[in-house]
């Protein structure tokens, strides 16, 4: 389509992830046997957490009261301030690994990508494989790689790759090649290592629950952004501005028994005021969030979320697994270069700032970050200066504790393509999951991943 570079299926799957499926309405038939997103059956309640100073939507904890939530968070954070954390970041749409880590040294590359191929001088060489170069937008990641803070999986995927956005993402979210699985792989991890009261242990930094965090037993939470909650006005400063915050709150508390909607509007203002007071922890007099960091994050929503996450971890919040979505839309069926470059640059720069922030805060040893997309793209480009859905793609593991520069190899564009012309995988994503479960969280991955026994392990951390 001229003004939409994504396929219709992807747009629909984006809708589905926003609770479309939950409503069970207008569910466009994406494919036969389409999986229901993990976690869509969980109960949810929204609380204002005093200790966190934000509105948390808590999943799978119907019996919780707000005070119990705060007490549980306080207890859990007193119990273990040094526990390990895994952050997973999903790049939506299936990003083009053959541009992000482009095989300029592969003889078939320019033939398969006549208009899309990048030149050897465009990006930095990749030290793990002389055929590969970093996309210029990934420069910040290439520096992390040089510093030994980044493991690259140049061909990560699974057998019998599914080219539906929806199904393939589902497999990655649930950690199994099973459309019926309804809990996420991180959710099942938390069901084993987690606490029945601490909803912060699984944190979806998004407006809705990321399916990988869907649990069966313990509560998890979503939080859009810990900062960003001020009430100022144009041409009002000094004492009138300070008093204005309180005055906003005084519009709460109006009760009219004959008028539920008026009463509700006032009650919402009261809640907003309580939230504002609690958020004082991260918000300065100027109404802006201050995370007290020296790291330079790009001024974007994604950057602010990661900055907020680093601040929460630093403040001792009992977080174990975090999931969020990366900026950008990578379903680049047409006019790929611009869309890919913009998203990738923001992702790389934000991640580099996050890693830097964690290191300054001495949290580097506690956090690893996994960056993934539901698939890579077809090796041969299409006629619209774009690429269609493929199979294996590129993934990354970032952290102070990562051991390798590269895991698995790039299979090449001659023998490394399957019958459909898609890249074959050299690392199964479930092996990465199993390795992280065992080596990072010290749990038996058989309890969490259905196929754990069949999968090789890597010493990732």
């Amino acid at each position: 389509m001229s003004d939409c570079h994504s396929c219709a299926e992807f747009s629909r799957s984006q809708l589905l992830t926003r609770g479309f499926a939950k409503a069970g309405r207008g569910l466009p038939a994406i494919e036969p046997g389409m999986p229901e997103p993990a976690g869509t059956g969980l109960d949810r309640r929204t609380f204002l957490s005093r200790s966190l100073g934000a509105a948390l939507t808590v999943y799978g904890a119907a019996a919780f009261a707000p005070r119990a939530l705060d007490e549980a968070i306080a207890r859990a954070s007193a119990a273990g301030r040094n526990e390990r954390v895994l952050v997973t970041i999903f790049a939506p749409g299936g990003w083009d690994s053959l541009s992000l880590l482009y095989p300029t040294g592969d003889p078939r590359y320019r033939h398969l990508r006549p208009s899309l191929a990048l030149k050897p001088g465009d990006g930095r060489p990749f030290s793990g494989d002389s055929r590969l170069h970093w996309h210029p937008s990934f420069e910040a990641l290439s520096h992390l790689h040089t510093r030994g803070r980044l493991t690259v999986f140049p061909a990560i995927g699974y057998y019998h790759p599914d080219q539906s956005h929806f199904t393939s993402r589902h497999f990655w979210e649930v950690g199994a090649l099973d459309t019926r699985q309804s809990t996420g792989w991180l959710g099942r991890l938390l069901d084993v290592i987690g606490d029945e009261e601490n909803a912060m242990q699984g944190l979806s930094l998004d407006s809705s629950l990321m399916p990988s965090l869907a649990t069966a037993r313990v509560p998890v939470a979503t939080l859009t952004n810990p900062g960003d909650y001020g009430f100022d006005s144009h041409n009002v400063w000094d004492v009138p501005a300070v008093l204005l915050q309180e005055a906003m709150g005084s519009l709460g508390g109006l009760v009219d028994e004959t008028d539920p909607f008026l009463t509700n509007a006032s009650a919402t203002i009261g809640q907003a005021d309580r939230l504002r007071r609690q958020l004082g922890r991260f918000i300065g007099d100027d109404g802006q969030a201050h995370y007290d960091t020296k790291a330079k994050y790009p001024e974007t929503d994604f950057g602010r979320r990661l900055a907020g996450l680093a601040a929460l971890l630093h403040a001792g919040f009992p977080i174990r697994a975090v999931a969020l979505q990366a900026p950008g839309s990578y379903d680049t069926h047409s006019d790929e270069p611009g869309a890919l470059a913009n998203g990738a640059k923001e992702v790389a720069e934000c991640l580099a700032a996050f890693q830097h922030d964690l290191e300054i805060r001495h949290l580097g040893g506690r956090v690893v970050t996994l960056l993934w997309s539901e698939f890579g793209r077809r090796a041969e480009q299409n006629d619209s200066n774009g690429t269609d859905h493929g199979a294996a793609g590129v993934g990354f593991l970032m952290g102070t504790s990562v051991r390798h520069k590269m895991v698995g190899e790039f299979p090449g564009l001659a023998r490394g393509l399957d019958r459909d012309g898609n890249l074959k995988h050299t690392v199964d994503f479930r092996s990465v999951y199993a390795s992280l479960l065992e080596h990072w969280f010290d749990v038996d991955s058989d309890r969490i991943l259905p196929d754990a026994k069949k999968l090789p392990r890597f010493n990732l951390v």
Binding site: M1, S2, D3, C4, A8, S11, R12, Q14, L15, R18, G19, F20, A23, R25, G26, L27, P28, A29, T46, L48, A55, T224, Y229, F231, D232, S233, H234, N235, V236, W237, D238, V239, P240, A241, L243, L244, E246, A247, M248, S250, L251, G253, L254, D256, T258, D259, P260, F261, L262, T263, N264, A265, S266, T268, I269, Q271, A272, L275
Partner: protein, 449 residues
């Protein structure tokens, strides 16, 4: 069966409520003018406006340019918001919004502002006529064909998406007297529509192609026939549960508490006897006592935004309305799903903050700068007078004692802080006035109507 009609006084207060429910609130003086007509003539003037719509005031201008609703992202939102602000036929525009929610179609899937605006025009043109006619036109409307997969739903491979929603959400109601078999059979009846995709332009030449249509016999609601798309819609409109569904759903757009059985039955009769016409039912709802005597309704984000600008006679002059309304939960042309926006969810702590920012943006051009204000702009320093002036700025909105006390308390505190400080005595009344206008705009009374 008698239909209850409001018998109480019809003054500016009642006229204002009517203008909020049937439009986007009053322009300056519009409520008083409407009140003079009395209830019946007031409602008639809304449901049967004379002549063509006139847009009053200056057209949108953003960054020195006009807007490009078909092309620039979000300008579709600005374009429609502008109509809401400037229309002289507010109910026509409000019904367009009702149908956008009722037959919710999102550009997230359609991917063409041109096609979405074409649908919008359909709602505006025939939104007060026959519901059967409207449902027919929506069924074969390009945006809807794209959104719910009616396009290229073929003989032998029918897509059930539209058939299901036609019954579940548009005409009959979920689990309300149809079966899964009816869904499948209706899907067959609806087959046959196709279009061409032209590179650089998008979908075009939407048309019915007989060879794509399944013209064999179908069984729908126990009736047998070689039904086509027209018959599929007619079957739904003539379904015994349709009239009640229609009346209930339409009522909910204007009055937040359900009608009693007698009222509903009377409205159903009115609807069916009128030949499934929308106008008489809307007219009856707008005259119903519950609209004037019942509880207030929460304004949706675009109604709220348009209302602030309309009250002040301000033009659309920024793209900020796009993200501000989206943040408040309502970006036009992007309803969250096919069931439309959820009216119970207009206010929460994030969305209230968005309303705060909307009011802030609307006030920006009116906010006095205490450092550069001329003496003639200087507001009074008496707290109660400052509050009155802020209320008058918003057309004399009626506030509860609770809210008024909160405003006066704020003004008293800021004025007290200015005692014995000349600079503060000059600046604080102005800042307080700016702040009070903001507080009035986000008061519970202004969030609802």
């Amino acid at each position: 069966m008698p239909l209850a009609v409001y018998k109480g006084p019809f003054g500016p207060e009642q006229a204002e409520r009517l203008l909020w429910r049937a439009g986007f609130g009053p322009r300056g003086g519009e409520d008083a003018a409407l009140a003079k007509k009395g209830l019946h003539r007031a409602v008639d003037s809304l449901v049967r406006p004379h002549g063509a719509d006139r847009l009053v005031g200056k057209p949108p201008r953003v960054d020195g340019h006009g807007i490009a609703p078909k092309d620039a992202f979000g300008h579709d939102h600005l374009w429609w918001l502008d109509r809401m602000v400037r229309t002289s036929q507010p109910l026509v525009e409000r019904m367009t919004l009702v149908w956008h929610d009722w037959f919710a179609t999102s550009n997230e899937t359609v991917g063409s502002q041109r096609i979405m605006l074409q649908q919008n025009d359909l709602f505006r043109t025939i939104g007060l006529g026959s519901f059967e006619g409207l449902a027919m036109r929506v069924t074969i409307n390009p945006a809807m064909l794209l959104y719910l997969n009616g396009l290229n739903s073929l003989k032998g491979a029918p897509n059930e998406n539209y058939a299901r929603e036609l019954m579940e959400l548009f005409t009959i109601g979920v689990d309300n007297g149809y079966t899964e078999r009816d869904v499948r059979e209706q899907a067959r009846a609806l087959t046959g529509w196709t279009a061409d995709y032209q590179n650089g332009y998008g979908w075009t030449r939407f048309r019915y192609k007989h060879e794509n249509h399944d013209d064999a016999m179908k069984v729908v609601f126990g009736k047998i026939g070689a039904f086509n798309w027209k018959a599929a819609v007619k079957l739904c409109i003539n379904h015994p549960k349709h009239a009640a569904f229609f009346v209930n759903k339409l009522w909910g757009y204007f009055i937040p508490v359900p009608p009693d059985d007698e009222t509903r039955a009377a409205l159903e009769t009115l609807y069916v006897h009128s030949g499934h016409n929308i106008r008489p039912v809307v007219s009856a709802i707008l005259k119903h006592p519950l609209l004037y005597e019942g509880p207030r309704m929460t304004k949706s984000p675009v109604v709220y935004t348009a209302g602030l600008l309309r009250r002040r006679g301000d033009r659309i002059s920024t793209e900020d309305w796009i993200w501000l309304d989206a943040m408040a939960g309502q970006q036009l042309f992007y309803p969250p799903n096919v069931s439309g926006w959820n009216d119970d969810r207009w206010l929460d702590t994030s969305r209230f903050r968005a309303r705060w920012l909307i009011a802030r943006r609307a006030l920006e051009k009116h906010a006095f700068n205490p450092e550069h204000a001329s003496p003639k702009d200087r507001p009074p320093s008496d707290p109660a007078q400052l509050v009155d002036k802020a209320i008058a700025f918003w057309g004399g909105v009626r506030l509860t004692d609770h809210t008024r006390k909160a405003l006066v308390a704020y003004a008293e505190k800021t004025m007290a802080a200015a005692i014995a400080d000349e600079n503060r005595q000059r600046a604080f009344p102005m800042m307080t006035y700016n702040a009070l206008r903001h507080l009035v705009a986000v008061s519970p009374e202004m969030l609802t109507a």
